[in-house]
């Protein structure tokens, strides 16, 4: 219970909690698309290639956050282009981008003079170091994500479930797909603040995958996934506080444990049915 008394006093804990809330909104909304469209490998590729942008920004003395944002959008566009026009090589090219981004990041960080402890906080996140300014940035990105989904909920749904039919009905499918990938990129950058880039893919997929066990529509899946994300980030933060464990890892472990329990329960409930489609 020391966590709660500390929460009322320590600003950094309050900031961390707010960051968790902001990240879980995005992870619920976008994670649902990622799970439904089966693009977690794509999201992983974006997350890892972000390292290249962070490293470059760090080397040039700029803000790693901006570098991450640019790298994420660029890699989302590359991946989207490959997916749309060069599909037979899709998975290997994502793998290549995944590793090259990391390698470039490591190269630049190693070339930057000074102590390189930042590398670990990029990789595994440090929610306790989130500053007030970052919170505003995160809130702004959340607003963009929510606005995009509110405006384009139905078109996105059409692209996610039946792209061919959507194309037939005259929707700009390729544009919508690329836009969605850019929003995924935005979400990835937002979540790197909280759990670090290696764990982003976990926070993106686990809450939505759990929510998929219990919901039937895209909207309810998003809502449940966001709530779960909220529970995991706050819960993980609280668990990690007292024994001084890494917060990002605790958040993901909590999510993974919940997923396993949920998967077993769901499998018992309907042994022969396929997984929830939504």
């Amino acid at each position: 219970m020391e966590f709660f008394s500390a929460l009322t006093e320590q600003t950094f804990l309050q900031n961390a909690l707010i960051a968790g809330v902001l990240a879980s909104i995005a992870c619920g909304l976008i994670g649902t698309y990622v799970v439904v469209m089966r693009i977690s490998y794509l999201a992983g590729g974006i997350a890892h290639s972000v390292m290249g942008g962070m490293g470059l920004a760090y080397y040039l003395g700029g803000s790693p956050f901006i570098g991450a944002l640019i790298a994420a959008v660029v890699s989302a566009l590359i991946i989207g282009w490959v997916k749309l026009y060069w599909q037979e090589r899709e998975d290997t090219l994502i793998g290549a981008l995944w590793a090259s981004g990391m390698a470039i990041g490591v190269l630049f960080i190693s070339q930057t003079p000074g102590y390189q402890v930042d590398l670990m906080s990029y990789l595994f996140g440090n929610i306790l170091l989130v500053a007030k300014g970052d919170l505003w940035l995160m809130a702004g990105m959340d607003a963009v994500i929510i606005a995009a989904i509110a405006l384009l909920y139905r078109p996105f749904q059409a692209v996610a479930f039946d792209a061919q039919f959507a194309r037939l009905r005259g929707l700009p499918v390729n544009f919508l797909y690329l836009l969605l990938l850019c929003i995924v990129a935005l979400t990835v950058v937002l979540m790197i603040q909280v759990v670090g880039l290696i764990l982003v893919i976990a926070l993106l997929t686990l809450p939505a995958a759990i929510a998929g066990h219990y919901t039937k529509t895209l909207g309810s899946m998003m809502a449940l996934a966001s709530l779960l994300g909220l529970a995991f980030t706050s819960g993980g933060l609280a668990i990690s506080y007292q024994p001084d464990l890494p917060a990002g890892a605790c958040i993901i472990l909590l999510a993974a444990a919940t997923f396993i329990i949920s998967a077993i329960v769901a499998a018992r409930k309907k042994p022969l049915e396929t997984e929830a489609e939504a």
């Binding site: 089966r38 977690s40 290997t92 793998g95 390698a103 976990a202 890892a249």
Partner: protein, 299 residues
């Protein structure tokens, strides 16, 4: 070691650059020469079978293996038993669940990956308080400094086993990858092909080689070296034989150059990063050349 003596003499005679007088350089080079072709050979199958995400996941699993090993009290630089144990069981369980569930493959691998890295990150950051933080970096991105003679023996053993398996079953595996139904019915080389068994064997082999390569390439980057050389070679090859041989050449070349170049140019980057960057540059060059219409001459 006599090879070491030979190299030292060559350095003294002025045939080789000075870096070769250090034993760790020799070890790293031997490791690169062994790991490169193996990754290439398996990479051809990984690319054909579209197991890219799977091999990334197994690579990240190595992170957890190292953490478990250190936690169980194995030496921090060499948690061999836990590393092999964890990665191979990770690959086996993932493959087993895959054949028994309706969950989409992408989501399944994603969840497994998420779980493994969460566990790995939690444990690693926990043990990192006890051991040097740089061990973490070595595990993630590889380091040639950590290769020991014992590693080389292990790597040699793994190489022998893998090559025997590839030589004996490679054709069948390729056939079952390209035409699973045909392979099941007809079999390659007159024998009935047990596709399920081959799949399990292949998955285990990927795990084995991933772990073997972690030392010099690193857990995060090892997956890429299974993919990039094979993808590159596929662009410039017209038949399976040249595809296989070119993959081997590219991956071995990148591994060796990735070990030597940073040292020769005195750039302090992890060997894994150098190897992957080289491989991606080769890939980009090939794509460019192809766009310029040079593919006819290369093929």
């Amino acid at each position: 070691m006599s090879l070491q003596q030979l190299l030292a003499d060559a350095v003294a005679a002025g045939w080789l650059p000075e870096v070769f007088q250090y034993p760790f350089v020799t070890y790293a080079l031997i490791a690169a020469v062994m790991v490169g072709p193996l990754l290439g050979a398996l990479g051809t199958l990984v690319v054909v079978k579209r197991l890219a995400f799977f091999s990334e996941a197994v690579g990240h699993g190595a992170l957890t293996g190292v953490a478990v090993g250190i936690l169980l009290g194995e030496p921090a630089t060499q948690p061999v038993a836990a590393l092999f144990g964890f990665c191979m069981s990770f690959a086996l369980i993932l493959h087993w669940v895959k054949s028994r569930t309706q969950v989409p493959y992408d989501a399944l691998v994603g969840v497994f990956l998420a779980f493994a890295i969460a566990l790995g990150a939690a444990l690693l950051l926990y043990v990192a308080k006890k051991v040097n933080v740089h061990i973490l970096e070595n595990v993630l991105f590889g380091s040639i400094l950590t290769v020991t003679p014992a590693d080389l023996m292990l790597l040699g053993g793994i190489s022998v086993i893998s090559w025997v398996l590839i030589w004996r079953y490679g054709n069948q595996a390729l056939m079952s990858a390209l035409q699973p139904d045909l392979a099941r019915v007809q079999g390659a080389g007159g024998r009935k092909t047990n596709v399920t068994l081959l799949d399990y064997g292949f998955v285990l082999l990927i795990a084995l080689i991933t772990v073997a390569a972690v030392k010099i390439i690193g857990a995060v980057l090892v997956g890429a070296l299974l993919l990039i050389p094979a993808t590159t070679a596929r662009l410039i090859s017209s038949n399976l034989r040249s595809f296989f041989i070119r993959t081997l050449m590219i991956s071995t070349g990148c591994c060796v150059a990735g070990v030597v170049l940073p040292m020769a140019l005195e750039i302090p980057i992890p060997s894994g990063a150098a190897i992957v960057l080289l491989a991606s540059s080769v890939f980009l060059l090939v794509v460019l050349f192809r766009q310029l219409g040079w593919s006819q001459r290369l093929a």
